[in-house]
């Protein structure tokens, strides 16, 4: 597959080392040495990750293939089964939650990327006050999600919420924002965009400032206007960064949990029940750890497949070694 080929290509320029650095032996030996160095550098991180995360994840995956009974004396595994997956595949709520989560992810990530990039482009041109702006923008992101959900819940309140009052003043009557499916979903998305657009803005900004200013000067000499400069020069160079932002926003959005958990409890009805909310309910409300683990495992698998598809479509910019 395309990404694999790209990644495994040697990242170092093949020619210069041998010619320019005679101290270091033949290119092949040099490469092997660098590869060994690479493993040495990454080993500590990989070990920490493996030691901490492998057991819980494998445990969960195994649990999704087991008849699990949670008891005071532990998690009893009563035989391997595909039943948990059968349960979720035949469950209407799971299918709805899958559709909802996908749609939610697509819309919020799209909006956030557009707004976040716009903010980053403007921030990048600020010579003064950039740090202050960044600090300010990062506050919504740094708020504990449960609390930002409480804040929106407070603002959406049907009798004294400021947003309810504003909508009322704008002639929307007495909207019950969290009371109908469509408005509750929109309300949830607004809260999400509010919290995470700054995340995207900061990632894109960090990518922007790393671009050489030479390219802009060249563009200015050419007399290109802002829009053309952006599409012809900035955007292509920013693609790896934007791809990274999209990738991680997709991962987070797909794991959507705290926000609906506090704001709507997944309601009204199932309207805002995400996969994670569904999995949480199965595990911690109904103590059905088998189906709950199946929801979690299938979610993880679906996201990774989705991300890999995305990387392919996005020309594997994240996986490639730059240009």
């Amino acid at each position: 597959m395309a990404i694999a080929e790209r990644v495994e290509k040697p990242p170092l320029p093949p020619e210069p080392p041998a010619a320019a650095i005679p101290l270091i032996g033949r290119p092949d030996a040099h490469r092997r040495k660098l590869a060994r160095l690479g493993w040495m550098f990454s080993a500590p991180a990989l070990v920490v990750i493996a030691v901490v995360t492998l057991f819980p994840i494998v445990f969960s995956v195994v649990m999704s293939f087991e008849n699990v009974n949670v008891t005071g004396s532990g998690y009893q595994f009563n035989g391997t089964t595909l039943g948990n997956y059968n349960v979720i595949l035949n469950n209407q709520t799971w299918r709805y939650a899958l559709g909802f989560t996908v749609l939610y992810t697509l819309i919020t990530v799209l909006v956030e990327i557009i707004l976040g990039t716009a903010i980053a482009l403007v921030l990048e041109r600020l010579t003064h006050g950039r740090g202050w702006m960044m600090a300010l923008l990062l506050i919504p992101w740094s708020l504990i999600t449960v609390i930002s959900a409480q804040l929106w819940y407070y603002m959406y309140d049907p009798s004294y919420g400021i947003i309810d009052r504003i909508l009322h003043a704008l002639g929307f009557g007495n909207p019950v924002i969290l009371g109908t499916n469509t408005s509750a979903i929109i309300a949830l998305m607004v809260a999400d965009v509010w919290k995470t657009t700054p995340f995207v803005a900061i990632i894109v900004l960090a990518g922007l400032v790393m671009l050489s200013s030479d390219v802009y000067e060249a563009a200015e000499v050419d007399g290109a206007n802002g829009w053309t400069t952006f599409w012809r020069i900035t955007f292509p160079l920013l693609r790896p960064t934007i791809a990274l932002a999209v990738l991680f926003r997709v991962l987070q959005a797909f794991g959507l949990f705290d926000l609906p958990f506090v704001l709507t409890q997944g309601g009204p009805g199932h309207a805002t029940t995400s996969l994670a909310v569904l999995g949480y309910r199965a595990m911690f409300q109904d103590l059905k750890f088998g189906p709950g683990a199946a929801v979690a495992t299938s979610t993880a698998l679906l996201v990774v497949l989705g991300c890999m598809a995305f990387l392919r479509v996005f020309k594997a910019q994240v996986g490639s070694e730059g240009n």
Binding site: E8, A45, L126, G131, Q150, I162, S212, G255, F257
Partner: protein, 280 residues
């Protein structure tokens, strides 16, 4: 806020982009302002949409710090988040550099595996993690949160750092190598400074993730002395009452360290990014 005149003329800034951004920034700021003013509202005006508190009161802040041990929660959150972030940045920079710049085999499976780990829903790993913590006697300790936070945030940090290392001109390392510097030194003193924005990004996101994590903190540390801010705030109020004022007061205080962190490190992001690049 002055704008660089050199790159484009002033008229460039009265355009769609700036207007859209201003609106977005307002959209970001207004709810924050609402939270701040509401945190100064007393019991009479908290359940109203009055624009300003009437009267202004600090009773909510007083409540957070006296009725609950909020200062202890802040201390715990700081210790845990700082330690986890330090671990993530140190290990993440090395791994990110290796995966970005060095000719290792099987990078793709490794990167995808890392992705998979950062994707796995947190709700599903709490129960097995608790088993481990119980078994090794780490319940109610700082390390019970520091290590999991570090491990679960490392994959993202590695991805993001690797991305920024990819963007650094390759000549930099060659310079180091010619000078005979050790590989570690090359990374630390030559490559790393170039990737400051990436390190900043990874750092701030790790710190924020640790600062706001709830489920693990709730499950592993039940002693008050080891509880963090998110768990502490979940103890505010009682079954049927949501004390919005106290909650907002707590979160206003909790936002200060993050803002301070960004302000302290803003110089490293703003300056010296492109100036030091070697000429091809």
């Amino acid at each position: 806020m002055a704008l660089k005149k050199t790159r484009h003329g002033w008229h460039r800034y009265i355009n769609g982009l700036t207007i859209a951004t201003t609106l977005t920034v307002l959209f970001v700021i207004l709810p924050l302002l609402w939270m701040i003013t509401s945190s100064f509202k007393g019991p009479k005006s908290i359940a109203t949409s009055d624009l300003l508190p009437n009267p202004w009161t600090t009773v909510n802040y007083h409540e957070a710090f006296t009725h609950y041990s909020f200062s202890r929660y802040i201390l715990n959150s700081v210790v845990i988040s700082v330690a986890a972030t330090a671990i993530v940045l140190f290990l993440g920079v090395m791994a990110g550099y290796a995966l970005g710049r060095l000719p290792m085999r099987n990078k793709l499976p490794l990167m995808v595996a890392l992705l998979m780990i950062s994707v796995f829903p947190a709700i599903a790993v709490i129960a097995p993690m608790y088993l481990i913590m119980k078994q090794i006697g780490w319940l109610n300790s700082y390390q019970a949160l520091i290590l999991p936070y570090a491990a679960f945030n490392l994959p993202f940090a590695i991805w993001i750092l690797r991305n920024y290392f990819l963007g650094i001109p390759k000549e930099m390392e060659e310079t180091g190598r010619i000078d005979g510097a050790s590989p570690l030194r090359t990374v630390w003193s030559i490559v790393l400074p170039q990737a400051k924005p990436g390190v900043f990004t990874a750092g701030i996101f790790t710190f924020t993730a640790c600062w706001t994590e709830f489920l693990m903190a709730l499950s592993f540390n039940s002693e008050n002395n080891f509880r963090t801010i998110p768990v502490g705030i979940a103890l505010f109020g009682s079954q049927f009452t949501v004390p919005f004022g106290t909650i907002f007061a707590g979160s206003c205080v909790a936002a200060v360290p993050i803002a301070a962190l960004v302000l302290i490190f803003r110089k490293s992001v703003v300056s010296g990014l492109t100036s030091g690049a070697v000429k091809g």
